[in-house]
């Protein structure tokens, strides 16, 4: 809690300060919007695991705050919800900016151009890369402090930052933007508990590979520690892969009076998928003699190529989804949805259709690994779950915490074996 902490904190304060402002504007513009279902946030706060509050109890005052806020956090979250909600409603209807809220590519390109117009020429040059730059496309990592493309969020003015976040609000659904916000908050939380200046929401980057365009090809990157949004638009159709999300702490945490557990729905959906299996299916899905201390097909680190290391043939182990009942298959679809539905219709619809078709499920395996073959415990180091389809590739692994040592944290990857980077490298 020394000097280092101040900078990122003040940044996140600005974030928090600015957002309600926009929201109020939007609210007044689009009339009232009711506050109800934000599944992600409410579920995270209500079904909150004890371990979460325990974990942050390293600092004693926090823990008491935490506990109380977990229970009463409906206030906080509902505040949050309202705000997120109104963001979204504004997506659907009216505007705070000049962009008409059609929710399609036109709106995204409009917000992207608005963002560009807030930047100096130098900043614009640093933001936009050539669409043929395969090195730039593949430059992303799970790690903090590595070199990234584009503009550092912490270097932007308030207006520029608002415009950048507006782009992400349109590029993502509410579910997706909640993840983004939660992961930023998680990094600020790591700063708060003494993680150092490598962490913090200021150290995230936004970049455009190619000029934003409704019909031409371009790519939107937003990422930092534990986050890589790589959305390639090919003729207006989006491919949000590869996508990396990770979070420490995994359990819900509180910062600046808001409670977050950004990847809880992803983790819970995968666990539910495996818990929906019969005992024999469950043990067929278990990867005997295999251990994963991280995802298998991880960051591309600017290598300019597609990964070639997916399991093939008899190495594709697990339970075949087409052998499952409709109810069990619905759990698989739901788990896939926690990733794919982070994106709006022009991205999600075609992918979800492809990933969950009968043909696809006939070639999709779900498998898991961990210390014991009897139960899936996301609180144990080495617990690993994956969905391996003809195209879809989702992995989630539980690793020991780096800063929050008393709990595991998630690393996830979502890839498309055929359409990573929109197949444009």
């Amino acid at each position: 809690m020394s000097v280092e902490v101040n900078a990122p904190l003040s940044f996140s304060k600005t974030l928090i300060r600015v957002m309600p402002l926009c929201l109020v504007l939007m609210l007044s513009a689009c009339g009232s919007s009711e506050t109800n279902t934000t599944d992600t946030d409410t579920s995270s706060s209500s079904s909150n695991d004890q371990s979460g509050s325990d974990s942050s109890s390293d600092t004693s005052e926090d823990s008491s705050d935490d506990d109380s806020s977990d229970d009463s956090s409906s206030d906080d979250t509902s505040d949050d919800d309202t705000s997120d909600e109104s963001d979204d409603t504004s997506d659907d209807e009216t505007t705070s900016t000049a962009c008409s809220e059609t929710g399609d590519m036109a709106e995204l390109v409009c917000t992207a151009e608005t963002f560009i117009s807030t930047l100096s020429t130098t900043q614009q040059n640093n933001l936009i890369y050539d669409f043929n730059d395969s090195t730039a496309k593949t430059t992303w990592s799970n790690l903090p402090s590595v070199s990234r493309n584009g503009l550092r969020i912490g270097s932007l003015s308030d207006t520029q930052l608002d415009a950048a976040l507006e782009v992400m609000m349109v590029a993502l659904t509410e579910q997706g933007f909640d993840d983004l916000e939660g992961l930023l908050a998680a990094d600020d939380y790591l700063v708060e508990i003494g993680g150092g200046s490598a962490y913090g929401s200021a150290n995230y980057y936004i970049a455009f590979i190619g000029e934003p365009s409704i019909s031409s090809d371009w790519m939107l990157q937003f990422g930092g520690h534990h986050m890589a949004f790589n959305i390639t638009y090919i003729g207006g159709t989006g491919y949000p892969v590869p996508m990396h999300e990770g979070v420490e702490p995994k359990a819900s945490f509180e910062i600046n009076s808001s409670t977050y557990a950004p990847l809880k729905d992803e983790g819970d959906a995968l666990v539910a998928m495996f818990e929906g299996l019969t005992d024999s299916e469950f043990s067929t899905a278990y990867l005997t003699d295999e251990w994963y201390s991280d995802v298998l097909v991880g960051p591309d680190n600017g290598n300019g190529t597609y990964p070639s290391d997916y399991p093939t043939g008899s190495d594709r182990k697990g339970v075949l989804v087409s052998d499952l009942t409709a109810d069990q298959q619905a759990l698989v679809t739901a788990a896939i949805g926690t990733w794919v539905n982070d994106y709006p219709a022009n991205v999600a619809d075609h992918l979800l259709a492809d990933y969950t078709s009968e043909d696809a499920f006939a070639d999709t395996y779900i498998a898991w690994a961990g210390t014991t073959s009897t139960t899936i415990d996301v609180d144990t180091d080495g617990t690993y779950m994956r969905i391996d389809g003809p195209r879809i590739w989702i992995e989630l692994v539980c690793q020991n915490g780096v800063l929050v040592r008393n709990q595991t944290h998630y690393h996830t990857i979502f890839r498309d074996k055929t359409y990573d980077y929109g197949n444009s490298l």
Partner: protein, 417 residues
């Protein structure tokens, strides 16, 4: 090759952060190849190894860890072959150290070696899946830290690749004949002195005062002989050859800022000596003893990790021969020039100005090398700058020579002889 090095740099950054922000650490294999043997230096993260080899989990709690079983394990999971034949790998030193990045984590360091058939120049193939056979996502970064057949002695390690899931083989390209390698070491020696500003500054100081004799606090003007100068720089070379070889043969060569600072101090002392005599004895002793100090610093220019003593000695000798050749070249160019200036009244002024310039420069180096100050001051020299400096000196001397009235010059010459 450059791209590979850049990649290596990125990777090393990643590796260092990986251990910082990431519990799933990678293994590393550093390979060095000499004429007769190849050495593999393995660094295995203990927590990952313990998943694949459970007994390893106990090592960090044992006063003297029992590495029994490691040899057999590695033998099962790695092989090195050449022309289709498996080489015999011998297990050397094994040690357990704390990771430098994360203090709670341990690393197992293993040195392995295999003898090479000196007549077989075909490529080596390393097949390796230790840890990875169990920890599916485990990655092992393989670098060629040194190869007598490649330029790694100066250009640093080369990334060979990353062993990982589905990629469990790596090739080390075949070797070439010996002479070009020693030749390149020779030319690197030449390049090293051309860009070694401190070395050149010291040489300049030696040349400014050779042939002169100290009288009280002042220098007596005399003509220098090229032969004397060559002997002097050879004495200097002899000095640094001794310490260079001695230092390189140590298990861990001494490379420190203090050595670099000591070099700067010797330059400073010799610069002061140019301005006003500090020492009356034979200049050879000064050249030899300062050479001993400079030799210590050269060891950072030559990477001999994993090479045998014989190869190291030959490499150091080739390197120093390159240095010596350039020194003699400089002597042949500069000493005649200095001799012409010595015949003028300007020489004492020139000598003192040059001496002061070197003194200031070396004072800057001392500060740069032991304190954090002045670090952004760039005093490096490149070959074209050096050529320009020597060119200017020669042209100025030529002008001076042409403008000097002949009779006067003859007079001086008569006096001198």
């Amino acid at each position: 090759m450059n791209a590979v090095r850049v990649l290596l740099l990125c990777l090393s950054v990643l590796v260092s952060f990986a251990t910082h922000a990431h519990p799933a650490s990678q293994s590393q294999i550093a390979i060095s190849r000499d004429y007769q043997q190849v050495k593999l230096m393995l660094t295995l993260p203990l927590d990952q190894l313990a998943i694949a080899l459970p007994q390893a989990g106990q090592w960090q709690y044992q006063a003297s860890p029992d590495f029994h079983g490691l040899a057999e394990y590695l033998n099962q999971h790695m092989s090195l072959s050449q022309s289709g034949e498996r080489l015999n790998i011998a297990l050397g030193r094994v040690s357990l150290t704390r990771s430098q990045e994360v203090s709670e984590e341990y690393e197992v360091n293993v040195v392995l070696s295999a003898s090479l058939n000196t007549t077989d120049h075909s490529k080596l193939v390393l097949a390796y899946n230790a840890i990875q056979h169990k920890v599916i996502n485990h990655r092992t970064v393989v670098t060629l830290v040194n190869d007598i057949h490649q330029g790694t002695m100066f250009d640093g390690p080369v990334l060979l690749g990353v062993l990982r899931y589905k990629h469990t083989n790596i090739g080390i390209s075949g070797s070439s004949s010996d002479i070009p390698v020693m030749g390149s070491i020779f030319s690197h020696g030449m390049a090293h002195i051309v860009t070694g500003t401190d070395h050149l500054a010291f040489l300049l100081c030696l040349l400014l005062i050779t042939g002169m004799s100290a009288k009280g606090r002042k220098w007596q003007q005399q003509r220098a002989s090229v032969t004397d100068c060559v002997k002097l720089v050879t004495a200097f070379t002899a000095g640094h050859t001794v310490t260079l070889i001695a230092n390189l043969l140590l298990p861990d060569p001494v490379v420190s800022n203090w050595v670099e600072a000591a070099v700067a101090v010797t330059v400073f002392l010799s610069a002061v000596h140019v301005i006003t005599p500090l020492y009356r004895g034979k200049p050879y002793w000064m050249a030899i003893s300062f050479g001993l100090v400079h030799g210590m610093a050269f060891s950072s220019a030559l990477n001999v990790t994993g090479l045998s003593a014989v190869t190291t000695t030959f490499a150091a000798l080739s390197f120093n021969l390159g240095i010596e050749l350039v020194q003699i070249g400089i002597v042949c160019l500069l000493v005649p020039c200095f001799n012409i200036w010595r015949q003028t009244k300007l020489y004492p002024i020139i000598r003192i100005i040059l001496g002061m310039a070197v003194a200031v420069l070396s004072a800057v180096w001392v500060i740069q090398r032991i304190t954090p100050y002045l670090s952004d001051l760039d005093t490096t020299l490149n070959s074209s700058m050096l050529a320009n400096l020597i060119g200017i000196t020669i042209i100025a001397t030529a002008l001076r020579y042409v403008c000097t009235p002949r009779p006067a010059l003859k007079n001086v010459k008569r006096v001198m002889s």
